[in-house]
Every structure is written in C-alpha cells, then in structure tokens.
C-alpha cells in the first residue's frame, strides 16, 4: 500500500519535501530506472577513428554483437577522448541503413543490378584476373625484360590498413600487375 502510494507523484508532492512537484516528487518510473547504454554494454573495444590522419582513439561499445556507441578514448595521448563531427558520427558509418551488405553484379551492357553469391563472385573475379593478366602480359618492353601485365590496375583508398596494403602489393606484384595506385598520390 505504501509502495503504491509512493509511486503516485501527487502523494509524494503533498507528503514529501517537494511541494511544488518539480523535482524528486515528479520522477517517473523510467527516470528511476535510467541507465546509460555504455554501462550495460557487453564489452568495450579500443579502436582508431577511420576518417582523417590525426588518429584519434575510439572506444567501441558492443551489446549483443551490435555496436551501441562509439566515442573518444580518453586514454589516447593524441586525442584525449575527443572526436570531431565525423568521428562522432562513425557509429552511423557502421550501422547505416543504406550500407550495401550483399554482393551486387552488373553484367556487360546490363541495365540493372543483379544478386550474386559471394563465393561465385570470388570465382568469377579470379577468372577475370587471369584472363586480363594474360591479355595484358608483356615479357619485354623495348627490349628489356619486364615480366608484367598491363591488363590489371588497382586504386586503393587510404583507409586501407597497412596489412591490407601489404597483401595487395604482394599479390599484385606476384601477378605482374604494376598499375597499382592509392589515394596517397592524390
């Protein structure tokens, strides 16, 4: 009975220390139960902002294998926990509803996108790499050995990880592809 009455704001207002009902007496059930979603996250993962090259530290909060919050990492001596608008929006980058998460395929002279299985796409790309490599192969150029193909080119963004750039350069070089470029030249 007492509990029920206590839950009634007017009762609290009339009997408590908040006669105008603007503070403690007005607290709702949701307010009493409020909790920040960083507190309820399953884990916090330390990361780095993917936008500019300042390299601000990020803390990524994960709940039920979904990212619930990304904010600045106060431990970082570079950023001291702060983020710019882009860094602050980076959860949206990950969870954007317009993000494309399936393979899309446009056939030659096609007018529509089509669906394609990931594995199929990988095999098709491998076919095309071999064919393009063969088509553009040069043993020699102006009398000098070059062992290369001019059939395959690549352009990477500068949000690639070092490890990714490394595998790319390694694989392309072994294939003989030399027109390998990056945003770093832009």
């Amino acid at each position: 009975m007492k509990t029920w009455l206590d839950a009634w704001p007017v009762f609290r207002q009339l009997t408590g220390s908040d006669p105008l009902g603007r503070g403690s007496a007005a607290r709702s059930k949701a307010t009493e139960n409020v909790v920040s979603r960083t507190a309820t996250a399953d884990r916090v993962v330390q990361s780095v902002c993917p936008y500019c090259a300042v390299g601000c530290g990020q803390r990524i909060y994960v709940k039920d294998e979904r990212i619930v919050q990304i904010e600045g990492d106060p431990d970082s001596p570079i950023s001291r926990g702060r983020l710019c608008p882009k860094g602050s929006a980076s959860k949206q980058l990950v969870t954007s509803p317009t993000r494309v998460t399936t393979v899309r395929y446009r056939r030659p002279f096609g007018t529509e996108w089509e669906d394609l299985e990931l594995d199929t796409a990988m095999e098709m790309i491998a076919d095309r790499v071999l064919e393009a490599r063969r088509k553009g192969w040069q043993d020699e150029h102006e009398g000098k050995r070059v062992n290369r193909t001019m059939g395959v080119a690549s352009l990477g963004g500068a949000t690639l990880d070092n490890e990714e750039n490394y595998l790319m350069k390694k694989l392309y070089s072994a294939l003989g592809a030399i027109q390998i470029e990056n945003q770093a030249r832009i």
């Binding site: 704001p9 105008l20 603007r22 949701a30 409020v34 904010e71 710019c84 602050s88």
Partner: protein, 355 residues
C-alpha cells in the same frame, strides 16, 4: 484587503517569498532532494575557443539517438540555409546543440603596397570591372550573408586579418540553459519536466503528453515539440550518462574544450578566471552570459562566455523566467476571487438578514 499595483515587489522580482525567481543557492534542495544530493552541474561554453566543428551537435545526436532534422532520410530537403556555415538554424526537438556562425567585418586603413599606383582604386580583371563602383560594393556587402554590423569593437584575440579588411567569425554552441528558474518546468502540468538530483531540467518521455505549455514558457525558445511524435524534447544534459559517472556527449567530444562540463561553482570560477584573462589581453568585448544569479532566470546551469552582445548570437539580452510574476498573479487572482466570494457571501448573508 490586499492592494495590487505594478509597484508591488512581486512584479519586480524582489519578493523574498517568490520561489520562482531570484538567486537560489540549492536548486536541488528546493526541488525536494535530500541534503546529500550531488553538486549542481552544468556547462560552461567558452565561445572564444570554439572552432565551429559541430562535433557537439553530432555527438549529442549519436548519444541521444535523435532523428535527422529532416528525418525522412532519403535526401535532405531543407538544403543550404545560406546563413554562413549554420544549416541547423536553431535549437529544436531534434537538435539539442546548435552552433551559431556569425560573420562580421570592418574596413581598416592599411597603407597600399609599395609597388603599384599609389591610391589606385580596385580594378577587376573581369569584363565588367568598370561597374564595380564603391556604391555597388557597399550594396554587395549588404546582400552578403554576414552583413552583421560590427556591434562592438573587434577583439585583438579574434579580429585580426592581415589585410585592409578585418574579419571576425564568431562561433558558439548553444544549448538548453538548465535555468535556476525554469519556465518550462514551472508550467508543466503533468510533471513530465522535472529537476534532477544534479540540478538539471529534464523531460520525462514516459510522462509528457504533448500539451506544449512549456514551449512558449521558455525565455530562450529552446524546448520544442517533435512533429511526428507530439511530445517535447530538449537537452537532458545527458542525464543517463551522469547517472553512470560520465560527462555529457557534447562536452566529451568537444575538441577544444569550448564546452566544459563540471560542477557549476567550479565552472563559474573557471569562467571568471577566463574572462579576467581575456580582459587582460585587451578583449574588452568578452562577457559572461547566464552566469549572473541575479538575472531574470536566477542564473543558468549552462552559461557562456561571449565575444559580443548576446543578440549577435541570437540570445535574448535579458531573459526573464516567464513564471516570474506567477505568484503575484496568483495572489492577485486569489484576492480578486476572495473579493468576489466576499461580495457574493455578503449578498447572500445580507439577503438572509431578518427584515
């Protein structure tokens, strides 16, 4: 019989019994919290170091999961405002932080470069150069977005530009002021708005019924209704984060510490020191806004250091809590009502007088 006049202390805000006005040393205690409640917290927004990056706007939206202003999401139909870099416009139900951009300029008398014709007027390289007379230039300047007349002297701190024209670009992140006397809170009939144990003012979404009384009651025009929802929304000073010992999202993100969060008394001391430093450096136009507990709202939980008049930033120069005169009005109304009752009673009683 109570006499009511405009000279009444109740209408000048000097009524010592008026709990809706004037300095209030313990807002939480006033709102019924025990003596061991946490210290009152707030924001000190130092606009002299704001770089207008809008991290506060985004961090706020990310944390509070606010909709895009034009929330349909496919394309932004609002488009460019044409008002400097401000495309948010104002605080609202979906924008709890808003960075204002104010462009100001003034001409200074720098000598002409040593080479070239002394005193030569500007010559444009374009085809219609000859038309660029002084008058048309003045006209052009008037039609530019800044056109904010310099309301005061420029500060050495921000006014320098190395040429014959000085430009100043003021930026300021506005937010709910979390007033000591909050009109929104005073008028809320449902108890949806409440004073937290931190001294902040928060809307409880599970209580608000969208009546909208609070909207006109805010002297700053902060609180607003969300169109597709009906309820009102505004800055909560990240109440949920505070309960977890975190700082509000905007202050956490702010790269230059323009937005500082902390205990209000500490922030006030810091702001006073910052103001003194700026004054020392000759920034005569610097001032604190919302710092004075004797102002019309009893001082703000979120206050500012400005470099120009408040109006320049779109802030009311002399805000007064809309409920300041409520007690006096109630008393007047009560007196009137008593009089009516008295008259009626005496009429009745009188009528019952034996003949």
């Amino acid at each position: 019989m109570t006499s009511i006049s405009s000279a009444s202390p109740a209408f000048t805000g000097r009524d010592p019994d008026n709990r809706l006005f004037g300095p209030l040393p313990d807002v939480q205690g006033e709102a019924g919290y025990d003596d061991d409640h946490p210290a009152r917290v707030g924001f000190f927004t130092d606009t002299s170091v704001c770089i207008g990056c809008k991290a506060c706007e985004v961090a706020c939206k990310e944390w509070n999961l606010l909709p895009m202003d034009d929330s349909h999401g496919a394309r932004d139909v609002i488009g460019l405002s044409g008002m400097s870099y401000d495309n948010t416009g104002q605080l609202g139900a979906n924008s709890w932080r808003h960075v204002a951009f104010i462009e100001q300029s003034r001409t200074v008398d720098l000598p002409m470069p040593a080479v070239g014709l002394p005193g030569a007027t500007r010559q444009d390289s374009g085809p219609s150069a000859a038309n660029a007379t002084g008058d048309s230039l003045a006209h052009a300047q008037q039609s530019s977005v800044l056109n904010a007349e310099a309301l005061s002297e420029f500060d050495p701190q921000t006014g320098q530009t190395g040429a014959d024209k000085q430009i100043r670009w003021l930026m300021s992140s506005d937010v709910c002021k979390h007033c000591t006397h909050a009109g929104c809170l005073d008028v809320c009939p449902t108890g949806a708005l409440f004073r937290t144990e931190f001294g902040t003012v928060v809307v409880q979404g599970d209580i608000c019924n969208g009546c909208g009384y609070c909207v006109p009651s805010c002297p700053y025009g902060v609180i607003n209704q969300r169109k597709d929802d009906g309820r009102v929304f505004k800055c909560t000073l990240c109440y949920d984060r505070l309960t977890d010992g975190l700082q509000p999202a905007c202050a956490t993100a702010c790269p230059t510490q323009s937005i500082q969060f902390g205990n209000l008394d500490e922030l006030q001391a810091r702001a006073d020191a910052r103001l003194a430093t700026l004054k020392e450096q000759g920034v005569e136009t610097a001032r604190l806004y919302g710092r004075d507990e004797n102002d019309g709202v009893g001082g703000n939980g979120a206050f500012f250091l400005l470099l120009d008049e408040p109006e320049v930033y779109g802030l009311p120069p002399d805000p007064i809590v809309t409920t300041r005169d409520l007690p006096a009005m109630w008393r007047a109304a009560a007196a009137g009502a008593a009089m009516i009752v008295g008259v009626a009673l005496s009429a009745v009683l009188g009528s019952r007088r034996p003949r």
